[in-house]
Symmetry: C2
Subunit: 214 residues, 2 copies
């Protein structure tokens, strides 16, 4: 009802009232409308035109808020990336690299019961719809960079160092497996699955390790 005034809840600078015409909607509102349609009728079956209609704006405006149709599903992924980077940077210097990544990934993936339903819809779409599986590789690129940069710092190496990139790619692989598994089997919080997958890696897939058998 009240106009969305760009919902800037962050600690901002001096509050100049915004200059021109106010946005008629928010990213959040558009994404929510899209997700409902995708969940109800399927991603491929829903056109951007229909999302626009549901959100009460024009097709062209959708693409000003989101660069691609696939990005409608990803919500505020960039924010999560920042939290991950902070977690990594704050880790004690003597903690082993992969342990830090493991802790950080798990820590940034705790969700309240309220957000779980929406999260499951998102992850199910991302891990099952081919167009979204494909797109995820692009979003994960930034994730890889964050983790690889951290690993490179710890190894005193270049961000393109094979070891640093491998740490990142492997961590992403474990996280992807965990999320895929969580979305398919109706668990509760995805954090335990994440921790278990990362533990397997940290143990080097040693078949004698109890963590593998648990």
């Amino acid at each position: 009802m009240d106009r969305p005034v760009t919902e800037d809840a962050s600690a901002g600078g001096p509050r100049h009232p915004p200059r021109g015409r106010r946005p008629s909607t928010t990213r959040r509102q558009i994404a929510r409308a899209a997700l409902e349609l995708f969940a109800a009728h399927g991603y491929e079956e829903t056109t951007v035109e229909q999302v626009a209609a549901a959100a009460g704006i024009s097709r062209r405006t959708i693409f000003r808020y989101f660069p691609t149709k696939a990005d409608l599903v990803w919500g505020e992924f960039d924010d999560e990336l920042e939290r991950l980077a902070d977690q990594l940077a704050a880790a004690p210097a003597d903690e082993p690299i992969f342990d830090v990544v493991r802790r950080a990934v798990v820590a940034t993936n705790h969700f309240g019961a309220g957000a779980l339903d929406e999260l499951r819809i998102r992850i199910t779409l991302i891990t099952t719809v081919p167009a979204l599986v494909a797109h995820s590789a692009l979003r994960y690129g930034a994730w890889l960079d964050v983790v690889a940069r951290f690993a490179a710092r710890r190894l005193d190496a270049d961000p393109e160092d094979l070891r640093a990139r491998t740490v990142a790619h492997v961590a992403l692989g474990a996280a992807t497996a965990a999320y895929e598994h969580w979305a398919a089997s109706g668990g509760d919080d995805p954090a335990p699955e994440l921790d278990r997958a990362m533990a397997l890696v940290a143990g080097g897939f040693d078949a004698d390790d109890a963590s593998v058998r648990s």
Copy 2:
């Protein structure tokens, strides 16, 4: 010069002469024409129409040989998948899971000097062009299934088992990191990079392990 007669060099059944009109070209020829154009002018800058013209066929026919533009870059990836599956199946039953995967991946990625140039073009495109990075997630899906099925057999578990899927995703991560690194830094055979990346994982990223420091 001579007509391409569907180049079926495999050990076939009884040789009925093919029935209807013969194909005017081959997948190989089309892919080669496409790769040249992509390398020369860029992937996004080249339209399927131009590939068709270079291959001497119509745009529509391109999409009968290849389901998407991106698949033009992937060549005979399916064949490689079969070889990987065979390698995995032939491994001794007492060899640790990840060691088997490591050996199989390395073994299926030896290339003669003649094929290296084309491989590097392919991998460079796949790891740098956003549309191809995205598409790769779809092709790797089949790769994941092959490795996960192997791991599941070894673990006497379901193919969707978290451990099996994690093994597959993590192996793919390591392989991706290796290939990415190989394409960027002009090495020779990608196999050593693959082996090194997989060794890091097998060692659990233990910083005291010599394999990590080498």
